[in-house]
């Protein structure tokens, strides 16, 4: 891209600068590294990107290799979806919060479920005591799902559901709820996270062992292809890997490696890659190191497009698109001086947008302490709206392209990710690597290193180890009414009493038999859900067939 003569002159100029000008200035006693501890140079110049080929490496938005963006006109055509992750208490409270958010300009829904629902237990199970409705909404049966979306037409809004182990069950409940609203499954749109590989690696809300989990995922791919074509069947996630303590490159590499593993699973299950790949989507973290994140997203798009085309032979251009949702980094927020978190979130949101995200969740300032209050979540939403409508960052596509720094960093991250792909391949692939604790070890080491840096004051966290104040933390926080747990238990018991129990039991038996065979389980699950079998009953029965996963923890 650059003239050889010019480059030579620049090189000489830089060397002269380093010898004569730079030494006149004293550096601060700090380490100039990213939040991932990656060292950065003081200056980037054309020399750092002398081999950059515009057509090959960057291209144009909406065209291979998609480095500059997956849509042709990006935010000029459609502003990213403002999708705040939300849910608490019972379906009724969450339904009210959804209506509040939609009223204030949110453009898509995102469901947070409580721990019992995430782990496949009904609210009245002994293991659910004290946990019902605390980190998300409690959903035990189709009855709850109907209340959750009461008054919200499912053909006019898309919904993302953060659910993994029991994703199939909740998805069936959503489909059945739409049916009750008179909407057929080909009209509904949304996403289920359904990324079991990262559960084993980072988030740890697994239920079944890997093999049956992958079978459920490929059943979902296949069913969606025929019946729910607008649905994103997996949200291949890096967010949780990052939250568990990984570096940016690890987040990039491990997420994409998981993605490739799903592609291979789909192909192995006999599907054509173009049948399911267009509906794979991604979910990344946006951490506080501004430029590293932007480079990460651009590298991700390029890596995915290249591999899908060259290794997996995808022909449909939609299979090559890495579409992603972003959430600002929860682990970057502090309990001390919570108002500071508004600012952190704003910077993180900005890098996600400059990185070309399709959809965004901004954290609320009080989320280190509890689930967000209405006021806090409104500010988080406004953060996105101010960015979209006031800052002008939506006017031009991929504005940072061509920056010597950004392009060099994008290349560097791509190369480092490729190193990880090699390592993972050597170990035999993602599942054997998980089994050998490879990812978990990398993450644990990075997490420990980060903590050490903070404690030795090598890394400054405002309000925590520097610029601290002595005041007690005095913020209004959301409290979950403990009585909701009792009410929810009563509700699920009532569902079991008032449904046609013979029908429900029959459907559960049919599902069990199918699980022991090789049929696609989704139709059986839909039947069970329609008969008001509860989530706990369905998962409990599948546990009998599939077994439960046990972890090998790595420190």
């Amino acid at each position: 891209m650059f003239n050889e003569e010019k480059l030579k002159k620049i090189k000489e100029g830089k060397e002269k600068w380093e010898k004569e000008t730079l030494p006149k200035f004293q550096n601060r006693p700090a380490k100039f590294v990213t939040v991932s501890s990656k060292p950065l140079k003081e200056l980037y110049s054309p020399l750092d990107i002398k081999d950059l080929d515009y057509e090959k490496d960057l291209g144009f938005p909406g065209e291979y290799p998609y480095t500059r963006g997956v849509q042709g006109n990006m935010y000029r055509g459609r502003i990213w979806t403002m999708r705040q992750f939300s849910g608490f208490g019972t379906a009724k409270e969450t339904n009210e919060r959804y209506k509040y958010l939609l009223k204030h300009g949110q453009t898509g829904l995102s469901v947070a479920f409580d721990m019992p629902t995430i782990m496949g237990y009904d609210s009245d199970h002994p293991r659910s005591v004290g946990e019902v409705g605390r980190c998300g909404v409690a959903i035990d049966s189709l009855a709850d799902m109907e209340i959750l979306f009461d008054g919200i037409p499912l053909d006019q809004v898309t919904t993302s559901m953060t659910i993994n182990g029991p994703a199939s069950v909740l998805w069936c409940m959503y489909i059945a709820t739409a049916e009750k609203q008179g909407i057929s499954s080909d009209k509904i749109g949304g996403t289920i996270q359904n990324d079991i590989l990262k559960e084993y690696i980072a988030q740890k809300s697994w239920i079944f062992p890997p093999e049956p989990s992958m079978r459920l995922i490929t059943d979902i791919f296949s069913f969606a292809c025929d019946h729910v074509p607008r649905w994103n069947t997996v949200s291949i996630s890096g967010y949780h890997i990052r939250e568990a303590g990984s570096t940016a490159v690890q987040e990039l590499a491990f997420t994409l490696a998981d993605g490739f593993a799903y592609v291979e699973a789909g192909i192995e299950a006999g599907l054509d890659v173009d049948d399911f790949a267009p509906r794979l989507s991604f979910f990344f973290n946006s951490h506080i190191d501004f430029f590293e994140e932007i480079a990460k997203y651009r590298a991700a798009r390029r890596i995915w497009a290249k591999r899908m085309k060259e290794k997996y032979g995808a022909k449909d251009p939609r299979s090559l698109l890495l579409r992603f949702h972003t959430q600002t980094a929860g682990c970057s927020l502090t309990a001390q001086q919570p108002e500071n978190n508004i600012i952190r979130t704003a910077y993180e949101a900005l890098s996600a947008v400059l990185g070309g995200t399709q959809s965004l969740h901004t954290n609320s300032m009080d989320e280190v302490l509890a689930l967000p209050t209405e006021k806090a979540v409104r500010i988080a939403l406004r953060t996105q709206q101010i960015m979209a409508y006031e800052t002008g960052v939506t006017n031009t596509i991929d504005p940072l392209a061509g920056s010597y720094f950004i392009e060099a960093l994008t290349d560097e991250m791509e190369a480092e990710a490729e190193e990880y792909f090699r390592k993972i391949e050597e170990l035999g692939g993602v599942l054997p690597a998980i089994d050998q604790g490879f990812f978990q070890r990398e993450i644990a080491d990075a997490a420990f290193q980060y903590q050490r840096e903070i404690e030795e004051n090598e890394r400054i966290i405002v309000g925590v180890n520097e610029f601290t104040i002595d005041e007690p933390i005095d913020t209004e926080i959301l409290k979950i009414d403990p009585d909701l747990e009792r009410a929810q238990c009563e509700r699920v018991q009532k569902v079991r009493e008032t449904r046609d129990n013979d029908l429900a039991q029959r459907r559960l038996e049919e599902l069990k038999k199918a699980a022991q065979g090789t049929d696609n389980l989704i139709p059986y699950m839909l039947d069970a859900v329609r008969a008001y079998a509860t989530e706990g009953e369905i998962i409990g029965m599948l546990k009998e067939v599939f077994g439960e996963y046990k972890e090998q923890p790595i420190f």
């Binding site: 721990m115 988030q203 939250e243 309990a335 001390q336 903590q451 923890p553």
Partner: protein, 140 residues
């Protein structure tokens, strides 16, 4: 030759919460300070935690809870320790605890110390070393 009593700590993840980054970082820090750390793994019931505490004869039980279930889990585990004659085991916690919940737990004695986000691991190590008796076993 008399060896020094090593402080044994049970780091436990009770309840359904799967976030173990903090628990693991703390476990490592405790090990690096010379303690023996027994890690229970995820998804423990209160009964499993207490049984482990007894069998391993730990000096301290540290609960890592970020799911909001602390007001149920701490009292339950304290109760079970009492019932099993193990009330001398120090019970502490790390995680997300609203201010007034913390006050209540500390006042009632359901927890002896609670560490919230941003606490340096050094502080936790120091607290344990300052608050655990050196002789340990055999004084009942």
């Amino acid at each position: 030759m008399n060896k020094e009593h090593k402080i044994r700590v049970l780091v436990a993840k009770p309840g359904l919460d799967g976030h173990d980054r903090g628990a693991k970082v703390v476990a490592r820090a405790l090990r690096d300070s010379g303690m023996e750390v027994v890690y229970t793994g995820l998804h423990q019931t209160a009964e499993q935690v207490v049984e482990a505490a007894i069998q391993e004869d730990v000096d301290v039980v540290g609960l890592s809870i970020l799911s909001g279930a602390h007001m149920t889990l701490f009292p339950r585990i304290r109760q079970l320790l009492k019932e099993n004659n193990a009330d001398d085991i120090v019970l502490i916690g790390g995680g997300i605890f609203p201010e007034d919940d913390m006050d209540e737990l500390l006042q009632k004695g359901d927890a002896e110390a609670l560490f919230t986000p941003g606490t340096p691991t050094e502080e936790i190590v120091k607290w344990i070393k300052d608050n655990v008796k050196k002789e340990g076993a055999g004084t009942t």
